[in-house]
Symmetry: C2
């Protein structure tokens, strides 16, 4: 069985663990979101690719859900010491451990040598052996940007007064700055993936979609994870031609993890399992798993054309996660007839 | 008093400590060797600049003489894990600690942003406050290369058989590969500084030489440290116009530290205090401090035109090092009349 998964970070990685347990013989390709990628201290960081790779490869910090297990923070502390005392200054709001730094050094070194992000990802996965084929959505540079909503005369950034003449000005920041540094505390007026419209799918992406028996959307952020992947036009077009089953990242009107509600608000979508499915639409999404709390979605007229199933969706253990994965595969099987 | 010092790594850094103690009010500029610079894991490493900066700034590993104090090696261990298991492979023979990595990350990040090595060095020194003005010899890329001498049919590298047709072929390696990886165990047929002939002195270098009351050569390697700096034509020319006093790095026919004898052999200079002074020559060197073991050099006819003084030269403590620095300054004073 061939399964292709469009993946964000933590939620996707956990779902993939369940999927691998449930379908150990399946040929699984994971198309990873790179809209979250960011250059920090001159190093190319791919948070979502790494979260999937570390989680499936056994190197993840289980407590955090991201980053390396038992990591230390010597390099970062030193970088901060330089930032404080010198003319040089790097961001101090993104946590990178020492083990994690090595990953970014390898990736950056390969990119600097002219290799592609796919090649770097494959090289990193040689070590981690995640048991899936992990491909970045594109080798082209994309970056998810957030337009911060600012009231007239209001500061656009905590602790920073609005400059004269900038009252009400919109400020655009990298997604990570909004997410990690500002904790999405400033409302987003819009979110878009810079470069996505021109981006070409990485080698193997379209082939993996075309060859798949089913495309799965794990419970990843519909805007900045799966939405960013689908922002690459050729990927969206290829996915539309396939049987797609998704797992709702929203349970009982709130994201299970992270701040997906803040992202959904930015694009005018209510934070409900039903609204997210309607946002994807029946032209893209064929099956949708919602939590039992959201079983009203099963017969919702707005979701005509999407087959909705309700079951417990909290991924509290590998067993429960495997059950969710099985439900997704069963629904796909049913939809394909 | 204005003092300009041409510096290599460990020997120079220790001498500079003594010089600062002896002449606390002097305006000291250190022109650092960058021929040893190397790109490791995509990061720009400047071993000599860092050794001077860490030593004078209080961040050096006193046991090693190079690298950071109490450093850990998590990043390097991870990089090696990637090198073993993946298609990517970095050198495994150069030891870089976690604290040290931060320095190279800052430097590389600034260089990637289009800043000069001088600017990066100044930014790093903002933190370390070495108490001297540390300038790289050039902002241009130079690299000291070593031509390995190979017997016909003999392997040029331990553990590697000579390929057919390559018997007796000369192999050129980066200085660090010869020095650190091969421990200079393979004889060098020649040593040259790639790029030096075209290199322009970094901003401030020629000014610091011109303005100096004295130019000092600390007991650094005459070939790959001071020799590399003097390989930049404009620097050599500027230095020749000044009063120059050097401290012999050779005592009793052997280098005090390191493998300077192997470097001297490569350029056909005997490893004696006298031969090193003769190699610099009276057109460049005006005063020369040798150890008491080498006092025969004081009246050696080969050193006509160079004033030689013999005194204990082992830098066994800050006090003895300060005494050596004082002797160098006194000799310079005497030579200037």
């Amino acid at each position: 069985m061939r399964i292709t998964v469009l993946a964000g970070g933590v939620g996707a990685a956990r779902f993939l663990r369940g999927l691998k347990a449930e379908a150990p013989d399946a040929d699984i390709t994971v198309i990873g979101n790179t809209g979250d990628d960011i250059t920090l201290f001159g190093l190319h960081v791919s948070p979502d690719l790494d979260t999937v790779m570390y989680t499936l490869g056994g190197g993840i910090s289980e407590e955090q859900g991201w980053g390396r297990d038992s990591d230390t923070f010597t390099v970062l502390a030193e970088l901060k010491a330089y930032g404080t005392g010198s003319g040089w200054s790097g961001p101090d709001w993104f946590n990178l451990g020492d083990k994690d730094f090595a990953t970014h050094i390898v990736r950056t070194s390969m990119l600097a040598a002219g290799q592609s992000l796919s090649a770097a990802t494959a090289a990193l996965c040689q070590r981690w052996q995640p048991g899936v084929r992990l491909i970045p959505m594109t080798d082209d540079r994309t970056e998810t940007h957030v337009v911060l909503a600012a009231e007239p005369g209001q500061a656009t950034q905590p602790g920073q007064a609005a400059a004269p003449g900038q009252a009400g000005a919109r400020r655009i920041v990298h997604f990570q700055e909004w997410w990690v540094r500002l904790h999405a505390s400033v409302p987003a007026a819009d979110i878009f993936v810079e470069g996505a419209a021109q981006a070409r799918p990485a080698p193997g992406v379209l082939e993996a979609i075309a060859a798949a028996d089913v495309i799965l959307f794990p419970p990843s952020n519909p805007v900045v994870s799966i939405g960013a992947i689908l922002a690459v036009p050729a990927i969206a077009e290829a996915v539309r031609a396939k049987t797609v089953v998704g797992v709702s990242p929203i349970i009982g009107g709130a994201p299970v993890r992270g701040m997906a509600d803040a992202c959904l608000a930015a694009i005018g979508v209510p934070a409900t399992a039903q609204a997210v499915a309607a946002h994807y639409g029946p032209g893209l999404l064929n099956g949708w798993l919602v939590d039992e709390q959201d079983k009203a979605a099963v017969d919702a007229p707005e979701l005509a054309g999407i087959t909705v199933r309700a079951l417990p969706l909290y991924m509290t253990s590998l067993a429960t996660t495997a059950t969710i994965a099985r439900a997704a595969l069963d629904l796909a099987q049913e939809l394909r007839g």
